[in-house]
């Protein structure tokens, strides 16, 4: 089963191109004497199996149109930042770029999910030299960008582990502890942010 059809081969290319663009942004800011905007950047193309599972879960036909049109996260980029402010700075910068268009955003940083999850999610649309599912060329592709701090990133990996463990005796308690931990990490993120601002007051 090849849910991405003939378009599958373009996805890694597009992913790399987006990462390259974001990397350039970072260097631009760095070059201007600013501090780098993020700590690291990772990207992935959602594997066929996960995409099939997602389409089935959403009741979508197993076609490239579902996988690349209805679902918008076949290409996923994660930007891990040092400070909360950097997330918002990057979001503003991305919105101002000509090579992409932000079509949807969700701020789970200022309003976390009930389990404590924090991240800023963007869905962007990029123009590519490749044909798309509507047979347009140059074609347009979607990608999801997740922006978070290092603390939010570590928390999300821990929560991810919990999600796939089904033999836990007290999932509710562990869930509460995770939530508490998310609030404490948020506290540290805000504290670091504040100290940074206080330091810069003396500039």
């Amino acid at each position: 089963m090849e849910i991405y059809g003939t378009y599958g081969k373009y996805l890694p290319e597009i992913k790399d191109e987006i990462m390259h663009k974001i990397d350039e942004l970072n260097h631009e800011i760095d070059g201007q004497g600013g501090r780098k905007l993020y700590e690291h950047l990772i990207g992935r193309v959602k594997c066929e199996d996960s995409m099939i599972e997602k389409c089935q879960r959403k009741g979508l036909a197993l076609t490239p149109k579902s996988a690349l049109g209805n679902c918008k996260d076949a290409i996923g980029i994660r930007v891990v930042c040092n400070f909360i402010d950097d997330i918002y700075k990057l979001v503003d910068l991305l919105k101002a770029q000509e090579w992409c268009r932000v079509i949807k955003e969700k701020d789970y940083v200022s309003k976390s999910k009930p389990n404590g999850y924090r991240s800023y999610h963007l869905i962007i649309k990029v123009s590519t030299p490749y044909p798309d599912i509507y047979e347009k060329k140059p074609g347009e592709y979607y990608a999801e960008i997740q922006l978070r701090t290092i603390a939010m990133d570590s928390w999300a990996s821990l929560e991810h582990e919990l999600k796939y463990k089904h033999n836990i005796k007290n999932p509710e308690q562990i869930g509460n502890e995770l939530k508490r931990c998310a609030d404490q990490l948020a506290s540290c993120d805000v504290q670091m942010q504040t100290i940074r601002q206080v330091i810069h007051e003396y500039d």
Binding site: I84, S110, K111, S112, R180, D183, Q184, A186, S187, V190, Q191, Q193, T194, I195, Q197, V198
Partner: protein, 228 residues
């Protein structure tokens, strides 16, 4: 502890001040009910001791006025032995306890120690102000999001909420948050005020702290509708 003493008999007042100061309490004396109300409005106290019969304004009226303003400070009335009605009206007016005259200093000091224990061990679990909730036992601040607070931030926000009708100076805030022995100055307090400001913002609260570096500071509610 910081104590407001309203007693019009100068001699008794002097004895009480000496006794309480020797135990390490800070005592602010006034000599009638009206002065007591004014002091209570302007400054923060851990306890108030009011005589009932005083010129200008009685202790009972003073208690009523202070409570009506939303002040929750612990108040002990000093009443004459025979006057049962004074005890009742005093308590009904909003006082927390009474001591009948003539009383022994030993008893008064024991009551203050008991109050100190209560303040330290049994503070309120949750406090609401505007659209925020402070869960002191869990050191957590909640609004449209939640975040943990340090012990100091919790104490600081606690006193700001309980005295939101006043502007609080550096000395008051530092003493209530860190106690007397700590080497905390206004610079350090400013950093903690900044932490709290950022945390209030990060939970999307419509509550802020007004005041510039150096104080005084006051908690303000920016929500459109008044929750009260």
């Amino acid at each position: 502890m910081r104590i407001l003493l309203a007693e019009d008999e100068k001699e008794l007042s002097r004895v009480l001040i000496a006794a309480m100061q020797s135990t390490g309490y800070e005592v602010v004396p006034v000599y009638n009910g009206l002065e007591a109300v004014k002091k209570a409005e302007a400054e923060v106290y851990d306890a108030m001791l009011f005589d009932v019969m005083m010129p200008v304004m009685t202790g009972i009226e003073a208690v009523q006025k202070i409570r009506a303003a939303g002040n929750q400070t612990y108040i002990i009335m000093l009443t004459a032995m025979a006057e049962v009605d004074d005890k009742v009206t005093g308590l009904d007016a909003g006082a927390d306890d009474y001591i009948t005259k003539p009383f022994s200093l030993k008893e008064l000091l024991a009551r203050l120690r008991s109050l100190e224990r209560r303040n330290e061990n049994y503070t309120e679990d949750t406090l609401d102000f505007g659209d925020i909730t402070l869960i002191t036992t869990e050191q957590r601040l909640e609004s449209y999001n939640s975040i943990s607070l340090s012990a100091e931030e919790t104490k600081l926000l606690n006193i700001l909420i309980l005295n939101s009708e006043k502007k609080l100076d550096n000395k008051t805030l530092i003493e209530h948050t860190w106690g007397k022995n700590e080497k905390i100055d206004s610079e350090m307090l400013w950093i903690y005020i900044s932490y709290l400001r950022q945390k209030l913002q990060s939970v999307n609260a419509h509550v802020g702290i007004c005041g510039n570096k150096g104080g005084p500071y006051q908690l303000i509610n920016n929500s459109k509708e008044d929750p009260k």
